[in-house]
């Protein structure tokens, strides 16, 4: 049985799942779908175009699904925000819905933890099991793959892809794609600092795979004088029997290199 606080303002067209809780002062706009067992603690706003799967927790002050922050786009603009299951949105998290100027949809997967004041821009795709620390800002059109960890105040340029199991240190200014399995930090420039060994160990990666990734990291990012990343990648590609994670790393790096600013997704800019 869904429970709605007396002071919540929930449009009559809102679909509330079984066991959903909407706390005091919440505002839920027309057509929103809230899945089973979701909890909106207090003073949460969920805007039209938003769909939440089961078991999400939204802490006080969240605003999910507001209009994209695009000059010339007004508050009534159409667009969607589709959120999966089991995510935690801490205080004052903001997520913009998609823009019809682009894909039209912002997507959040499952089991993500977004800390206070973090933000996802319009048309972002956040996969599963990521962690965004306080005040992270993910710009529009970015893709954050699964199990990424972004530290406090990390920020991205638009159209950046952050590869799976990557780690970004606090205040990282990510202006180009971040390769999977690696650590980056700095501003400016934000550069690769090594393998995200901690993340891989915590995720239970096999020792052989971690070793293979370490060798691949060294080949790609601890290059001999004068060797370009492209040449190092080509060298890695020529090796036989690549570990599947190394292959994923190689393909990600090659994809990013195709674009002038190292942002693979820029080619989809309309």
């Amino acid at each position: 049985m869904a429970k709605i606080a007396a002071t919540a303002v929930v449009d009559k067209t809102v679909e509330l799942g079984a066991g959903a809780l909407v706390g005091p002062g919440c505002v839920v706009e027309a057509g929103v779908v809230i899945g089973d067992d979701c909890e909106l603690v207090a003073n949460v706003m969920v805007c039209r175009g938003t769909r939440l799967g089961r078991g999400n927790r939204l802490f006080a002050g969240c605003v999910l699904g507001e209009a994209p922050q695009i000059l010339g786009t007004d508050r009534a603009a159409a667009g969607e925000l589709i959120i999966g299951e089991g995510n935690t949105f801490r205080e004052c998290v903001t997520i913009s819905r998609g823009s019809l100027l682009a894909s039209g949809r912002t997507t959040v997967g499952n089991n993500n933890y977004l800390m206070a004041y973090s933000h996802l821009g319009h048309d972002v795709v956040l996969e599963d099991q990521t962690t965004l620390a306080n005040c992270c800002q993910v710009s529009g059109h970015c893709r954050v793959e699964r199990n990424v960890w972004l530290s406090g105040y990390a920020g991205t340029h638009q159209f950046v892809t952050i590869g799976r199991f990557a780690y970004a240190a606090g205040y990282s200014a990510m202006a180009s794609d971040v390769p999977p399995f690696l650590k980056v930090s700095g501003n400016y420039p934000c550069i690769v600092r090594g393998l995200n060994r901690t993340g891989l160990l915590r995720a239970g990666f096999a020792a052989e795979s971690i070793q293979a990734l370490e060798r691949a990291y060294r080949l790609l990012y601890r290059r001999k004088d004068g060797q370009t990343l492209a040449a190092a990648a080509a060298e890695l590609a020529r090796q036989d029997g690549l570990d599947e994670n190394v292959r994923y790393l190689l393909e990600s790096v090659q994809r990013s290199m195709q674009q002038r600013q190292g942002r693979y997704q820029e080619q989809f800019r309309r």
Partner: protein, 284 residues
Amino acid sequence: MPRISPLAVIDPKAAIGRDVAIGPFCVIGPEVQIGDACELANNVTLEGRTRLGERNVLYPNVVVGAAPQDLKYNGEPTETSLGPRNVLRENVTVHRGTALGRGRTDIGSGNLLMAGSHVAHDCVLGDDILLGNGTLLAGHVVVEDGAVLSGLVGIHHFVTVGRLSYVAGLTAVRRDVPPYVKFSGDPNRVRGLNAEGLRRRGLGADDVAALKRAYRLLFGPNADHALAHRLDELQASGPLSEHVAYLCAFLRRSLAGRFGRYLETHRQDGREDRRYRRPAEVRE
């Protein structure tokens, strides 16, 4: 749906213009004036002596006119104003002025303040400015027309951000940002003419060319004299275009300031004002 929600808490002494929309759970204080056709989403708080021009759009959780976060503040009835047609996104905060500053915080027209950005006491913003997500302006900052500050930028107090400049994301700005240029890094550096920004704002080709020449002279790779010397050379080289003249005047002012901040030399607070004390709200 009523334009003014019955769930909003609006002081009867507040002056609300025509055709204003106020969402549920807004809190509007007695000395607030809201201009015609403003739109306040839910949970917007307007306090103090605050005036909004017409057609401002305030998204959820905005707070305008709150007390300054300044230990020098003593509860004085300072003011906050927004001109017409600004957009303040979620969680934006704008604080009123201090008596030892300008006594007021002013924001012009047509500005976009993105989610989580902050404008502190005594700031002055002109028109058509962009503040990216999470960008924080400390007290007494002046941002001139058309400046674009990217996300997570922090501006030190008493900095002036010149017109049509661009500051890259995650930059901690500690000195004045010259007009028309790109600016970033630690240490802060000018990174070229903001050609893209000037193009987007419709500056003429001749003006851009004049600025490019001036830029090369002032900041270019072969510039090996102090900036003051290069300014002398530029200004002696003949009549300057309006924008180049503006750039030169701005740079001279910043040079004459302290720490590269022109406004530091115009501070009104003295050493005694700056001694430590507890915030006004909890002071004895």
